[in-house]
Structure formats: C-alpha cells, structure tokens
Symmetry: C2
C-alpha cells in the first residue's frame, strides 16, 4: 500500500498536527486533544454554536469547515469511524456561548448514537441546549419512501455554509436549526466511483471495481451503490446524476440552484469541469439557472476516483445565506 504516512495508527493525529502547524493562528485543539478542533476566528458575542463530527479520511470534510461563518468545532474519529460521545460532549461545551449549539452531521449509525448521548449529557450536566440536524442528502442510499435512512455526503457542506451564515446573523438556536433543515430539504447528492480507497490501518483497498466499470451511487466509505455499469462518458455520468437527483427533487423553469461537482480524491479537476459543463447545459435547457457553483474537492474518500453532484435549490433566504462571507483554512467564499 502506497500512502505518504508514518505508522497507520498515527494517521489522524499527524493530520491534525499538520493542520495546527499550518493554521494554528486560525484553529486550535481543545485542551491539546488531537480529536477536537475549534475555531479561532472572530465571531459575534453570544453566537449560536455549530458543531459536527465524523470519521477522518474525508478532508476538507469535516475539519476543513471549522472557521468563520461555518463551524465552531469538529470532532473526528479514526478513518471512517465515529468519535466518542465524550469527546463530542467536550466539544459542545467548548462551543456553547450561552445560547445553545446546533449539532449538524451526516446520518451514520455511530455518529448518531454518540451525538444523541453527548447531547443528553450536556443537557443534564451543563444545562446546554442543543438541536440535532442530520444530513441525509445521498439519493442513492435509500429510495424516496425511506428518506430517513439516507446517508449524508457532500451536501453537508452547503448545510454548514447556510447554518453558519444564519448563526453569524444573530439567529436563535431554533432559527439556525430551521435554516439548516430548510437547506437540507432542498439539497440532493449522488456520486459515482471509479476506484476504491484504502483505509490506512487496513492497508488493502476497501473494494474493487473492474478496469472497464463504474459504480453508480456508491457511498463515501465504499457502501454499495445502485448498480455497476460499463464505463460511461462524462456526459452520460452528468445525465445520469442530474436525472436521478431531479426525479427526487423536481426542478422547473425559472428555478435557481447552486451546483457542487465534488471530486472524491483522485479525479483531476479537468474532469470535474467536463462533467460540470454538461450539468450546466442540462440545467440551462430546463430553464434552471446556477448560482455560485462549487467545483473541486469538498468531501473526499481518501484516494477514491470519482465524483458526486450536489444540487441545492435556492430561494431568497438560502441564496442570501450561501453568498455571505465565510472562510476557513480550507474554504473561502470566492464570490466575495
């Protein structure tokens, strides 16, 4: 296995050491704990806190969105594994400014169980109010009639952005949670994978895809997708993703959306742009306009080749929150 790492068991700690070495003026560890990252950016006094958590191996998700107008804190576990409830509770305590904390994360069993316990703990022990909002944007992970089983993938970045802006505007915990839920009702994602990733401590590819095949709808940890097909062109991939997403969330002429073409790790930026070009053409044909496209790597799966498409349907509120200033070491609202 070829990875630029030292001992696999130090992978997450050393990643975090790199983040602190590079950006220690912008982010910090909570009490020297290499699993909990907090923002150093200036913010509004009394701002509602926003936190997330999840497994490592997806940078810039999750740690990369700790910043201004984004997240206040993030707890990470080992690669593709949930962090513990006690670390989540420590983070929530550190991110509460007296007005409560939004807990915004992807719908995975371990993360959900641990965050539920953490929220109970800080409620009972510290009297901290929390609201939990789960990201379930992956349309390939369950049919529409079982939406609550869907997993959270790249669309969570839009949810972080929208909730972060609402909190910066001085909204209450309930209002920030409502903004996140409103965003998520209008966000859908689906991806394709061309090759596997390798978890450092496993040392072998998680799965395999034949040299002439592509997996439609695969999850970001290698969860099985909808189907395996013979290799498709970029245009066919764009058409498939747009079709599946718009079947689930219909769009009509006059609608405005933001579009994210997110690389999973090994796919060149040129290829993201080739796919984006076709997505843009398809939406334009439907009379749908695109605001603030996001093209690049926002939520990865180590060195997996492939990409995902996220569409967020906008209204005045979501457009305003999306376009507000935000920055972290890994994300800048370039429209400003």
């Amino acid at each position: 296995m070829k990875k630029l790492m030292n001992q696999p068991e130090h992978f997450v700690k050393e990643t975090m050491e790199g983040i602190i070495a590079a950006y220690g003026d912008k982010v910090r560890l909570l009490n020297g704990d290499y699993r909990i990252l907090l923002s150093n950016y200036e913010t509004r006094p009394g701002k509602v806190g926003i936190v997330t958590a999840g497994g490592s191996g997806h940078l810039p998700v999750f740690l990369g969105y700790v910043g201004q107008g984004l997240l206040d804190g993030c707890t990470v576990g080992n690669v593709f594994a949930s962090p513990s409830a006690s670390k989540m509770a420590d983070m929530i305590r550190a991110c509460d400014r007296g007005n409560g904390v939004l807990v915004l994360f992807g719908n995975y069993g371990g993360d959900r169980m641990n965050f539920e316990l953490a929220c109970e703990t800080v409620d009972m022990e510290d009297d901290i109010r929390t609201e939990m909002v789960l990201v379930k944007d992956d349309v390939a992970s369950a049919p529409a009639c079982e939406k609550d089983r869907r997993r959270g993938v790249a669309g969570m970045v839009y949810a972080f952005k929208v909730a972060g802006a609402a909190a910066e505007n001085g909204k209450t915990l309930e209002e920030v949670a409502a903004a996140a839920r409103h965003a998520l009702e209008n966000i859908r994602t689906m991806g394709v994978a061309l090759s596997s990733c390798t978890v450092p401590q496993v040392g072998e590819p998680t799965f395999s895809i034949a040299e002439d095949e592509i997996e439609i709808g695969m999850g970001i940890h290698g969860e099985p997708g909808l189907e395996v097909r013979k290799m498709m062109t970029a245009d066919q991939v764009a058409e498939t993703l747009v079709q599946k997403i718009t079947e689930d969330m219909p769009l009509e002429s006059g609608d405005e959306v933001s579009v994210m073409v997110n690389g999973l790790g090994a796919t060149p930026l040129e290829e993201h742009l080739i796919v984006y070009r076709r997505v843009h053409a398809l939406l334009t044909q439907m009379g749908v306009s695109i605001f603030m496209p996001h093209i690049g790597e926002y939520a990865t799966s180590m060195e997996m080749a492939g990409l995902s498409l996220t569409i967020m349907k906008l209204d005045g509120e979501l457009k305003g929150l999306l376009s507000q200033t935000a920055r972290s070491p890994f994300y800048t609202n370039y429209n400003k």
Copy 2:
C-alpha cells in the same frame, strides 16, 4: 482507461467550456478561442500585463491563475503539449495595456521556442514590449551547475503571485520582471511520485512505478527523477525533500520562508498535512519560520499520486507581494 471524459480529442476544449460555464463572469475566451483565457476582474488602468502558457493537464496550473493580482491571460495546448506561437501572440496583444507584457512560464523546450517567436512577432508587428522570465525551480531536473536546464514546476505559482502583486501596484514592466526574477532566485521545488498519470489521447499510463516503490524527483509530465527507492514514510519523504532543497538554497536561523506542499493529483489532503507537519518541524529546528503556507493542489499531473515541496525564501519585498490580495476562480489569498 478510466477517465470522466467524452472523446479524448475534446478533453481540453470541454475543460475550457466547463470553466466558462462556471466562471464566465470572472474569465472569458479571447474571440471564442478555446485555447486562450483572459481575466474579467477589475484592474488598474495601464497595468503591466502578465501572461503564461503551457500544456493542459495541470489544473489549477495554468488556467486557474488567470485572475486579480495574478495573470491577465493564459494560453493552453493539448495535455502536456505547448500551444502555438500564434495563439501566444494573440494573447499578448489582448493583454497589453500600452505598458508591456511580462511573459512568465516554465522552462520547457516547446513553450520557450513558441514564446520567443510570439514575443518577436508582437514586437515587430504591434510594437508591444515584452520581458520573458522562465521558471526553473525543479532542483531534481538538473544539478546546480546547470541551473538553466532546470524545469519549471509548482514554484511558478509563487512567481505568478509575486509578479501579479507588483503589477497591481503600478510597477513598470522592468520592475515587474525584476520582482518575478527576484522571487524565482529564492524559490526551489522538488517532488516525489507514487503512481503514473494517463494522457487522455494516449490512453495508457505514461510510466509505471512498482507497488512498493517511490520515484524521487520525478517531473510533472513523468520525466525521470533522481532515483527510485523502496517506499518511504512521510517523514522520510519530508526529510529528503527539505535536504535536497536546502543543499541548493541554504537556509539559516532567522530566515523566513513560505512553504507549498502541492498534491500532484491523487494523494489525499490528509497526507499533504502529514508531510507538511514534518517539514514544519525540520524548518523550526533550523530556526526558520513559515509564513502563509500553501497546502493542497496547486499544480497537478492529472491523476498522478505524489506531491512536491516548494520553499520560497522571503524578504520584506517578497513577503509584502505574497500577502497582497489575489483571487481567481481557483485561488484565493485566504490570509485576507
């Protein structure tokens, strides 16, 4: 071969169509020519123009640096191939505001030959003054006694940034060229490769590296490096790169540098940070401080796995120019 593309011969045109579909408010084609990208950002009247050119397949290099405080224009060829002299001349004409154009590009035979011809043409036909500055930052590509043979790699991004800032400050063509040369005297890069890239129209990997080997000093088109070694740890890679660079450009206690850890395509951001962490420790031990680190993908080789390290030694002038505001669809000076 697995690439998210359509016909290989349309790879570059469709990449450019994607750029225009996404960022058509910020950049534009010259007269609809899919090989010439110009900036739409506001700039100082009479500003000295800055242009580059080179083969496709390296995004964000080269097209990604057309923006504000960076490049005014960029011409690209096919993947890993130089564009023509006539397109370069068209671009230079479009980027001259009456005060001349800096032609700043990597030291490759085809690009050099074509830019020399283009500069002669615009001098004779249009009376446009140009200065050529070649980037030769790759220490692995030739020994110190043959520095002029060295190739240009990721260090060119720092040169674009410094020259772009000098031009925005109203400097003359000679002053902007001098700033670029001064930056380049203080910039060194070296990389390692773990796997090959695949040129779309070739359809086969350019070279191969055994599953347990790493190539030290490989070029961004797969040019042979200094040596092939058994797979190394991230710390050993960092130590090797810092040693080779500082042998060529000695650093001493009290020096300040900027450091770029640049992913070549398929290497996860976590691994960039693990390498950065060790580079940071080594420089700190030497008494050298780091300003404005750049960690991520700045100059790639399609889906090649590996990374490069660039060190730019700073003085007051270079630090000021580096930290000035700059933005493009692919680069933001996040320190602002």
